[in-house]
């Protein structure tokens, strides 16, 4: 082709430009403006000076660290539980058997369902007068709704965990399943001929192959849960308030002077997300090396 190189370059730039406008212009631009507000620069509320005061105010408060801990442990437990269920599920779904196509379909159902719908479903099932309590009552195990444990708005966040488990197990499981299907049975068969036990075949053949998928999907789940607002607000504890909920509640307050504080919480939330991400990448590299992968 006789087209000059600069023309090709320009064409590629033009192809990328609209996407860059969204990613850099909207997302990064919004981040920068938000960062400015967290430093107290909010001309609309008559605030012009740049200060770290809003960060200092947060970091000296016990409530902030309690909220951070609640947010972190919520994300950590739901990620861990989802992963622990998802991986065995992927192994079960790998085999072809009578009804396996149906199970495969059922396993994918949660993927497109909105979180709000799941939240409502879980409430109607596990609330104190929910289906589960009614089932126990019909078995004669309890007579009053109050005898059923409070799983919604409880400290442990059981209802929240159930919503995330329902949504995220298929998310992780399907990616792992796709990797398993791409790998096929050949490597395992080879390892078996070479005398590898069942455990050795898993540990040294399959695990290194699926580990990148497990780690990357669980990292995405963690980041998502860590920053999510709706589910903890609907089903969660009121105090300590998870950081995303706290931030958005302050932001929605009619008092504009609370906005820098809302932004500061948001920025700290973002910084912690990046911190987890870096730690995760380290862990991933270490785990891959230790498991015998690349």
């Amino acid at each position: 082709m006789g087209r000059p190189e600069w023309w090709e370059r320009l064409k590629i730039l033009l192809m990328l430009l609209p996407a860059l406008l969204v990613l850099v212009g909207l997302f990064s631009g919004g981040l920068v403006v938000g960062l400015g507000q967290s430093l107290g620069y909010l001309p609309a509320a008559g605030l012009h000076s740049v200060t770290l005061q809003h960060y200092v105010d947060l970091l000296v408060e016990d409530a902030f660290w309690q909220s951070l801990w609640v947010t972190f442990s919520l994300a950590f437990t739901s990620t861990l539980l989802s992963t622990l269920v998802a991986v065995p599920c992927a192994f079960l779904l790998r085999d072809t058997f009578r009804g396996s196509r149906l199970v495969n379909f059922l396993f994918q159902v949660p993927i497109p369902i909105p979180h709000l719908v799941v939240a409502f479903g879980v409430v109607t099932l596990v609330a104190q007068s929910g289906m589960l309590a009614r089932l126990l009552a019909s078995l004669g195990w309890l007579s009053e709704p109050s005898q059923f444990p409070a799983l919604v708005f409880d400290r442990a966040g059981v209802a929240i965990q159930l919503v995330y488990l329902w949504k995220e197990i298929p998310f992780i499981g399907l990616v792992v399943l796709a990797v398993l299907q791409n790998v096929g049975p050949d490597y395992e068969a080879l390892a078996q001929t070479l005398g590898a036990t069942r455990w050795q075949r898993f540990r040294h053949v399959l695990l290194p192959l699926i580990l990148p998928a497990i780690l990357s999907t669980s990292m995405i789940v963690f980041a998502f849960v860590f920053a999510s607002y709706e589910i903890p607000l609907l089903l969660g504890v009121r105090f300590p308030t998870p950081l995303p909920v706290w931030s958005i509640q302050l932001y929605r307050d009619p008092d504009l002077s609370l906005r820098p504080g809302a932004m500061a919480i948001g920025v700290l939330l973002t910084l912690f997300s990046i911190l987890w991400l870096v730690a995760y990448r380290r862990l991933m590299r270490y785990a891959l090396r230790a498991s015998g992968g690349r």
Partner: protein, 267 residues
């Protein structure tokens, strides 16, 4: 695995997946359903009648959600398809940076960005409007569209396009008759799921729409955990309908191989 365990597996997954949805269907037709009854003592259509009445604003919200979702998915195609093609089929300086930028909105919380955008949108007078909501929905939608379409273009052979061009087809005809048919299945699924991303948004719509742009999620949210489960259930079922349609759509391609949704998942 014995057939008993397989049967339990199928049944178990069916119950766990189906129950949270089934219970909402029952609630939407319940008139009186008190503890400890396992089924409503009186059935009725009042929740559905309310949903279809003007006072519920469900029809209005449905149109708003549909309009915003369609705008977001069409814009995502226009923005995402060329970018995905550039990333999949070309090498250029800074490619790594662009790929990295795509992953950032997936991992970094959108809270700060959305709040920052809100301030800019107030100045641009698009806050509290559907246009503003469409623009902010593009942030999660566009990277998703690009990531799916990159994998579609990665298996795409440009030789056919060259042939068509040599035979005298112009750019529009090459796209319409050669490129589009080749990428259509992937593009349709990506569009469907991009639509669902917009459809399911709550907090971005709340912040940018400022309570003036009423989508279905805005109506459903305050009803969850409230006293009127029947109404909440009926609205929730309207809200979940496009997701079920998407499942029906992708179920047909399931015949080709399991886990087609594997790469399409979002947390």
């Amino acid at each position: 695995m014995s057939s008993f365990w397989r049967g339990s597996l199928v049944g178990g997954i069916g119950v766990v997946v189906g129950l949270p949805l089934l219970v909402q269907v029952i609630w939407s037709f319940a008139f009186r359903w008190y503890f400890p009854d396992l089924l409503p003592s009186e059935w009725g259509l009042h929740a559905w009648r309310y949903v279809f009445s003007d006072s519920s604003r469900v029809g209005e919200a449905l149109l708003t959600s549909l309009g915003i979702g369609l705008a977001v998915s069409l814009l995502s195609i226009g923005i995402g398809m060329p970018a995905a093609r550039a990333l999949a089929l070309h090498d250029f300086p800074g490619k790594g940076l662009v790929e990295w930028l795509l992953l950032v909105p997936i991992v970094v919380p959108g809270v700060v960005a959305t709040m920052g955008i809100h301030l800019v949108f107030i100045h641009l007078r698009v806050a509290d409007t559907s246009l503003g909501v469409v623009l902010v929905h593009l942030i999660p939608a566009v990277p998703y569209m690009i990531l799916v379409m990159v994998s579609v273009f990665a298996n795409y052979d440009t030789a056919l396009e060259e042939t068509a061009r040599t035979l005298g087809a112009n750019a529009v005809r090459v796209f319409w008759f050669v490129t589009l048919p080749a990428i259509l299945p992937g593009l349709l699924v990506a569009t469907l799921f991009t639509f669902l991303i917009s459809w399911s948004q709550y907090v971005t719509t709340l912040l940018i729409g400022g309570g003036r742009v009423i989508t279905l999620s805005m109506l459903l949210f305050p009803l969850i955990g409230g006293s009127n489960n029947a109404t909440a259930a009926a609205i929730s079922l309207v809200f979940v309908a496009p997701a079920l349609l998407a499942l029906g759509f992708t179920a047909r391609s399931l015949a080709k191989g399991p886990s087609v949704l594997g790469g399409l998942g979002r947390p």
